[in-house]
């Protein structure tokens, strides 16, 4: 099956995921079109991280199906490299490689994993570091950067692989309030450039501003979803209303 841009770039159908006997995802379905930005919100422990980790096969699933550009993620014969070239991921705790400089962090994977030419990768890496507004920090080690700066390096590192989809798992949750903005700006730039983004976030103002669609999860199911305007101002389900009342 070949994928065409008219079809969802990421598609989840009735996904079930358990850790041991605990079912964490209980039938999740959602479609994301190319260039769309979706935000997943919901209480802690509702399975948001698990959901997006399943999309790039960091977690396996027990039932249902996930496809990325037509690639069946749950196929035991899946070429994980092929999947992970398409999907970039940014984590809450940045997870940079602490023994490499910012520039090296960005350059490593394209050279090592994709076997690309070093000089060409370096040019691209420097451009990406400029794009996340970190000029001058190329030779700094992660331990010498603030949380917000590290997170932007992590975004650049992911972008260096030229992914088609970016996953963001609460990427501002560990940051100081003043550095949250710089990271959100970076993501906004990306979304404006047409990158397909799937974000888990607690930044409701931000979600409202950039998302094409909001999904609210609770205890492993999607309770409600819709475009931000309808979702925030006109939530139907009492669980959504209660969550929004607490957080807004």
């Amino acid at each position: 099956m070949t994928w065409t841009p008219q079809q969802p770039i990421v598609s989840l159908k009735d996904v079930h995921k358990s850790f041991g006997s605990v079912e964490v995802l209980r039938g999740i379905s959602l479609d994301v079109m190319k260039g769309e930005v979706i935000c997943i919100i919901g209480p802690s422990g509702s399975g948001k991280s698990t959901l997006i980790r399943c999309i790039n096969a960091l977690n396996d699933i027990q039932a249902g199906s996930i496809t990325v550009e037509g690639l069946e993620v749950n196929d035991p014969k899946l070429d994980k490299l092929a999947l992970r070239r398409k999907v970039g991921m940014v984590f809450q705790q940045y997870n940079l490689f602490p023994h490499k400089t910012a520039l090296q962090n960005v350059m490593m994977a394209p050279i090592k994993v994709l076997g690309q030419d070093r000089a060409e990768v370096e040019n691209r890496a420097r451009a990406l570091i400029a794009k996340v507004r970190l000029n001058g920090k190329e030779d700094a080690y992660p331990g010498e950067l603030s949380g917000g700066q590290q997170q932007r390096v992590a975004i650049a590192r992911s972008l260096a692989m030229n992914p088609d989809v970016m996953l963001f798992d609460e990427v501002t949750a560990a940051l100081d309030p003043e550095t949250v903005k710089e990271v959100l700006m970076t993501i906004k730039d990306l979304a404006a450039d047409g990158m397909t983004c799937i974000l888990v976030t607690h930044e409701m103002g931000f979600a409202r501003e950039i998302a094409d669609c909001i999904y609210f999860t609770d205890r492993g199911v999607i309770v409600e979803s819709g475009p931000p305007a309808t979702f925030f101002d006109n939530a139907q389900d009492p669980r959504t209303q209660q969550f929004l009342a607490q957080i807004l």
Binding site: R84, F97, H99, A109, L114, Y141, G143
Partner: protein
């Protein structure tokens, strides 16, 4: 009183630090050969034991249960038996079986006593290095490994590019202790007549009856060798230091 006199005797200039081999050309030649043998034993065993440690720790993180158990048994065997017994085991138990027919038609050992000393010392120190590196590997956060997975790294690439470089930094202090011990343990090769420093010194003192002077020579030699190793390890640690990391 006797004790005090003996002690003062030790401090007399012709006894204290009498490096007997410096003056005598014949003995100096032998001493240098012994020192060189000890250096060879140390350097080659250090290198091979590090290799054993890195490979063993990698296998302990591998999916194959059989391999993991095999490495576990290997480590347990070498950790829980005396190194001198291990050396004898290799040299006398295995060495006498592993023979080839030489040019003169007589059976000859396939591996020399020097070879067995290297093998035995490398495996002994290597088994401890496996444990040391494994502790370092376990100290690498799971989330760092996941970040590499998400970038498409293979298991092997993750080990060589991310886990190992970080693990080595964590392991260095323990590794240093083990390697210093390895240098000191090379004296066991004496027991299978490898002409290293202790063996040569014993030859010299039994011919020249200068045990005390040769003890000076020996102790100073090992202090010097260990000092060089500690200096190298220190340089290595410094070279590996990451700005802003691990304070």
């Amino acid at each position: 009183m006797d004790l005090a006199n003996t002690f003062i005797d030790w401090l007399r200039p012709d006894w204290f630090l009498n490096l007997a081999v410096v003056s005598d050309d014949y003995n100096r030649g032998r001493y240098v050969a012994g020192l060189w043998m000890t250096i060879k034993l140390s350097v080659v065993s250090i290198f091979l034991s590090l290799l054993v440690g890195v490979l063993g720790a990698a296998v302990q993180g591998a999916p194959s249960r059989t391999l993991r158990v095999a490495v576990g048994l290997f480590v347990a065997f070498f950790r829980n038996t005396p190194p001198l017994v291990q050396l004898y085991f290799f040299y006398f138990a295995i060495g006498t079986v592993l023979r080839i027919t030489g040019e003169n038609g007589l059976p000859q050992p396939l591996i020399s006593n020097f070879g067995w000393a290297i093998i035995s010392l490398s495996l002994f120190a290597g088994a401890l290095n496996v444990e040391i590196f494994r502790a370092g590997v376990e100290a690498v956060p799971r989330s760092t490994v996941e970040a590499a997975e998400a970038l498409g790294y293979t298991r092997l690439q993750i080990y060589t590019d991310i886990v190992l470089p970080l693990a080595v930094r964590v392991s260095l202090p323990a590794l240093g202790t083990n390697l210093v011990n390895l240098v000191k343990t090379t004296t066991l090769a004496y027991a299978i007549a490898v002409p290293e420093l202790l063996y040569i010194s014993a030859q010299i003192w039994s011919e020249d009856l200068n045990v005390r002077e040769m003890m000076n020579v020996l102790l100073v030699s090992y202090v010097g060798l260990v000092a060089v190793l500690v200096w190298v390890l220190h340089r290595w640690e410094k070279a590996l230091r990451i700005p802003g990391y691990g304070e």
